[in-house]
Subunit: 348 residues, 2 copies
Amino acid sequence: MATGKSVIRERRRHRGDNRVTIEDVAKQAGVAPITVSRALNTPEKVSAKLRERIDHAVEALGYVPNLIAGGLASAGTRVIPVIVPSLSILTFIEVVHGIQQTLEAAGYQVLLGSTDFDLDREAALVDSVLGYSPSGVIMTGLLHRDSTVRRLKAWGRPVVELMELGDSCLDMNVGVENDEAGACMARHLLERGYRRIAFLGTGMQRDYRARQRYEGHRQALEAAGVKGDLLFHNEEPSSYAAGRRVFLEALEACPDLEAMHFANDNLAAGAILEANRRGMRVPEDIAIGGYLGLPLGEHLTPQLTTVAVPRFEMGVEAAKLLLVRLEGRSPPSPRVDIGYELIVREST
Amino acid sequence: MATGKSVIRERRRHRGDNRVTIEDVAKQAGVAPITVSRALNTPEKVSAKLRERIDHAVEALGYVPNLIAGGLASAGTRVIPVIVPSLSILTFIEVVHGIQQTLEAAGYQVLLGSTDFDLDREAALVDSVLGYSPSGVIMTGLLHRDSTVRRLKAWGRPVVELMELGDSCLDMNVGVENDEAGACMARHLLERGYRRIAFLGTGMQRDYRARQRYEGHRQALEAAGVKGDLLFHNEEPSSYAAGRRVFLEALEACPDLEAMHFANDNLAAGAILEANRRGMRVPEDIAIGGYLGLPLGEHLTPQLTTVAVPRFEMGVEAAKLLLVRLEGRSPPSPRVDIGYELIVREST
DNA sequence: CTGTTAGCGCGTTCAT
DNA sequence: ATGAACGCGCTAACAG
């Protein structure tokens, strides 16, 4: 006869959904659902014999765990939101790539969010993604709305802040010292004998990391007794075209310039390409330095001198830090300086 | 006295988790939890008065819905997995960018997965992400393991397959006709009067879309009575450096070549940069054509002739198609040809 | 090592 | 327009 039990089974799924559940597997293997759960999540806690029976049943039925249900029960999905300012800027993408590759290998999934450099959008995004009960969060930068900081602190799970390094962070921090990187290129240009040196950037209003590099640049020049506040910038987004434009603007405004320190390699590459077009000699007529270490730099003529930052590795490192914490251990240091490297090539 | 009820409330959360729940809000507003749920999800079904009280309570308590619980109850989170072959290839990133921007604006979140061009990894990823009860899925390409196809079909929710167009797709399809795009460039080179024309690519073993373009190229040449199977390729990933290398290999193997049709702009740009370095004249000594329409192309000297594909728009279109289906409507056509455009510049 | 019980926080369903 | 009851599928906690 149809018992009450079977009635329940009939109306089990809300809608046309008919996925195999852990209960189906348990029945097939002749065990309790929890044993299936254990066989899948902590195999060492289940006898070899049962494990095998269960693996069979899983295979036979094509069971795929419902991670949503698991997440609700255990208050933690294997999802890591990664919040970046923009997906149109190569830097962030390479970082995301490093993160994604590392986390996916460890069985976590990346939930992508972008703020368009807007801290209010960041705040809203954080609220929203915390609703997914993520295992941890990776954020860009150290600068957030108070509400964001409060939420994340109250939340209490691992958080990594990425890109720049600072005195205080929410939880963990990996990045580079932007002012030092800026000073590094400035000192290199000084050593080469250049004295009329300008810093050129775009979108520096929103990109405070570029401003930090400029600050390092300025201080390095002034420490050497050289005028350091020669700055050219506009607010368009970084691109080759933007690089060509600031390059020309600076040349026009300041024809006796000897060297240009660009806020990033995209701009610097644009400048070299423009110089190529006009038959200008680099570095004889004008020296050019960049920041990032984009692959394009070494293929230009002249090859671009740059301060390279390991962007992919920065992502990997952030993910590793998070994974350590997710495994319940605590990392040797919650702060990782990923470093930078001056690569001297032909353009200076 | 402590009633049974309050005991339950004490031990409510499994672990240190202390998030505000819908019940807290309901209590504060003096309504039932379900009313809060409605006020948030279908405000038009709740009286203005209650809605206001509830909004207040939400604000005051800082309530953020637990999307996991919602997902479990309603069998559908607002998550869209996007599965791409690689995050180190700019093309896919721009597509993801378009998708992400469109979906995020509509209140959906992108779950990122990458397969490294491996169909078995793709199959595993699909299994895994379906566990998140996503609202829909966006996949790359039309070629999948049988098991992947079966799962997705049985699953029954919206699926978009992206990049190339084909006769049959799982559900919806947006992309470009690769063979036509390849033929387009080939015909352009023929029109320019070139006869000794080679196709050069890298990683074509895994990248069957590049093979499709080569096929279109070959047929166009042979239709014109020109030898079409001049092919140079190797299996390294695409990069400027790889472009420089195939360029040199082809020149050496075939010094009387008149034109080169590259599988993508990265390779073509590498070739132009190498030609710059060697003082070779393009297109006089050798003509160069690309595919994609990367920004770099127009800044090179000579500017690169290319077949441009609107990659960002392709992502936007895919997301829109999905959104239409998610709103319960059905799109005018489940197949969108995103098109391509021949951009003739200086290099041919 | 295995099972029982009791929710996780919501939305569906059905009643009012 | 609002509410009560129930279960989505899984795992934590506690027994045995």
